[in-house]
Subunit: 421 residues, 2 copies
């Protein structure tokens, strides 16, 4: 598919400025960005009429199939929510369910300008099928813990899904310190050394998780993992709310990534991650939605706004965490974490992009488009989303190889079966 997006503007992520020009794609990558597009036999020429091409958002932490729990049990204390609403119903999910539910999540992602995700959940075979069939880019993270999967399974998945489909890859990972024995964690660290691979997990999401780890090992989650060589080849943590000074040192030393999930952290009253400190230390920052059960939407605009707004609250400083830093995290920070060649509108990069409708009232007047994407954007400004140059969403319509009416009915049937006692 050779696309020519003409008569538009694009976000230059290096300078965080908006430039005028054409954007061309072929073979899944950007082949030209600028003001003198080559004459070519394009499959489709799209007149952007001044609209704005931005890199697709990288959703750097999610559990896609959890859309089935969206608004199933809200306004509950965390323990009750987990033990009564989440765990017993997750146990009823089949691989077929996850296949269908993943497609619903993809529809929501592309309606939001999201073009890739970093997903930790069960039944990756079924999910990989859904992602590749819909045309969406997914990097899986291992979900090993004391109750499911094994070191052998993790290695099997690692080898399988890194050779499965161009849209799919796989990172070593486990659920979290508090759900994974030291023996298992040592097994993961062993694989990291065997494959020179980064490792990912939930880390320091709640105060009690961190305190209990210190009681158990005399070390924070980051420290105990680092002590067994877990991060020799980098990686990162999801949430990272309760990182201490030494934890930040470890993240910096191993070029690790802090993935922040502010929406989920508010809803579950977990706290506010110290993104300002992470940025001050030059630690790579990425942004994720977490699963829909704890959010409840898969909406990077909501996350981006909270990234800056909650730092302003935390530091009582309206200048904290400027918009440019947030956008960098949502684009290049995420791409660096997932090790995919996206996150910028540049020749040679993966053609993962979204087109922003500059004619929505919330985008007017155009005093500062970059600031406004973060402070004033919302899902309604996304006019088009493409992954690898393939348009998956355009003008409210979905092109993910699945009729959405059927998809919604299938998801409703799954919920009915699971929630019926």
């Amino acid at each position: 598919m050779k696309l020519h997006l003409k008569n538009g503007r694009y976000l230059d992520v290096r300078t965080m400025t908006v430039k005028s020009g054409s954007v061309c794609t072929e073979g899944g990558i950007f082949t030209y960005v600028g003001n003198e597009p080559p004459e070519d036999n394009y499959d489709r020429v799209i007149d952007l009429n001044g609209n704005l091409v931005i890199p697709g958002f990288c959703n750097a932490h999610t559990h896609s199939p959890m859309v089935f729990l969206r608004s199933f049990a809200e306004d509950l204390p965390l323990d009750k929510w987990l033990t009564e609403a989440v765990f017993p119903h997750e146990a009823k999910l089949t691989p077929e369910d996850n296949y269908t539910l993943t497609k619903l999540a993809v529809a929501e992602y592309v309606s939001n300008g999201i073009t890739s995700c970093f997903d930790m959940y069960y039944y990756p075979e079924a999910m990989a099928k859904a992602f590749s069939e819909t045309g969406f880019r997914c990097v899986f993270c291992g979900a090993l813990n004391n109750f499911s999967e094994s070191i052998e399974k993790l290695e099997e998945y690692y080898l399988k899904f890194n050779n499965y489909h161009p849209l799919i890859s796989y990172k070593l990972g486990f659920h979290a310190e508090y759900t994974t024995s030291l023996e298992l964690m040592k097994g993961v660290a062993g694989l990291a050394h065997k494959y020179n691979a980064p490792v990912w997990c939930h880390n320091s999401e709640t105060k009690s998780e961190t305190e209990e780890c210190i009681a158990r090992y005399g070390m924070t989650p980051t420290e105990i993992m680092d002590s067994i060589g877990m991060f020799e080849y980098g990686g990162g943590g999801y949430h990272c709310i309760y990182l201490c000074e030494e934890d930040f040192n470890i993240f910096a030393r191993h070029n690790m990534t802090v993935v922040t999930n502010p929406c989920s952290n508010l809803k579950l009253s977990s706290g506010i991650a110290d993104l300002t400190e992470a940025c001050r230390r030059g630690i790579n920052l990425a942004i994720g939605t977490d699963g829909a059960a704890s959010n409840n939407s898969l909406d990077m605009f909501k996350e981006m706004y909270l990234c800056t707004a909650l730092q302003k609250l935390k530091y009582s400083d309206a200048a904290a965490m400027p918009a440019e830093s947030v956008l960098k995290a949502a684009f290049t920070g995420g791409a660096r974490a997932l090790e995919i060649n996206s996150g910028a509108i540049e020749t040679g990069k993966l053609a993962d992009f979204a087109v922003i409708d500059m004619r929505r009232p919330c985008m007017q007047p155009e005093n500062n488009i970059v600031k406004n994407l973060v402070f004033g954007g919302s899902r309604d400004i996304v006019r088009m989303t493409a992954v690898g140059g393939k348009i998956l969403y355009e003008n409210g319509g979905f092109f993910i190889g699945e009729d959405t009416e059927k998809l919604y009915a299938d998801c409703a049937a799954i919920c009915k079966r699971i929630f019926t006692k």
Copy 2:
């Protein structure tokens, strides 16, 4: 205009449940809600195909023309933002500017399901013209302070705009204690007694504002105002972040309304209002966006999410401020504050409503639609917005008597003139 919205669902705000049925309007009010719509000669019959009719949102605190400052100067400390970005540029606004800018705000309101606003700003004549011409409902609040307007002007406006147009009304009000002398405040209290009228103002938005008032009078802003009989006939405050025990007593005693503006409060690092305490005491709660300069969008979905999420953070309790309380504030709490007969889909109420697109992925599956409106909603789910039975927004198109391309160009010209030194 006689409308029949058939084959849909509607939100019953009394029970906070979703019901199936038809909604009919005539003469600006709902004439029928239920399952046996009368045969009639409707001007238009709309098949909702299962979509959801909700009351229009009441934006209970805003400064509409401030859209001109949207994303003009972000990530600045509050004092610099006010003195360098806001004040000098506001001073250049003309009535004609405010007329045009108000129309841009209306476009954004209706794209968001907002059907009425409570607006405090300069040049109400120009703004009232814009609101009535576009078909949007506005209740003005007096903007008196030491630097502009007068008691006589306030009374003149009060009488004029309460007899101006069915869509327009006017409440007594002044900017805030810290910008208004005791003498002027006494003058406002005098008008309140003369007209048996409620009074509104910014109240306890920042810690320093409250501390300085205590240093000045030995009383909080609420206490000093109450001591001069300001709230004999009710009214309320915008922001209300730093209310003390006695302030809450005063609010409860006079049946006053707390209007919360969580998005603005985060962006300007003002703090988190104690909505939980207000609800516990049965104080009426309403929600507003504040002006676009400090938000940056006029988006009630963003505000609603923050209303619940920030209480969960403040109280470290994921059960704090349930979704139903938030919706009540956004609908009936706002209508009660503005003294307009809207906020519910019921026969005899003003036909101010929005239609929610239930086929957006973020609204699926339908585990709990009421919860999901607050936790998972965003502007893209608004399919239609009508004020007094007149459709102002439908399927992305605006019907506000103004071409949006021209409106955007006019607003750009205003910004260019104002921001050019």
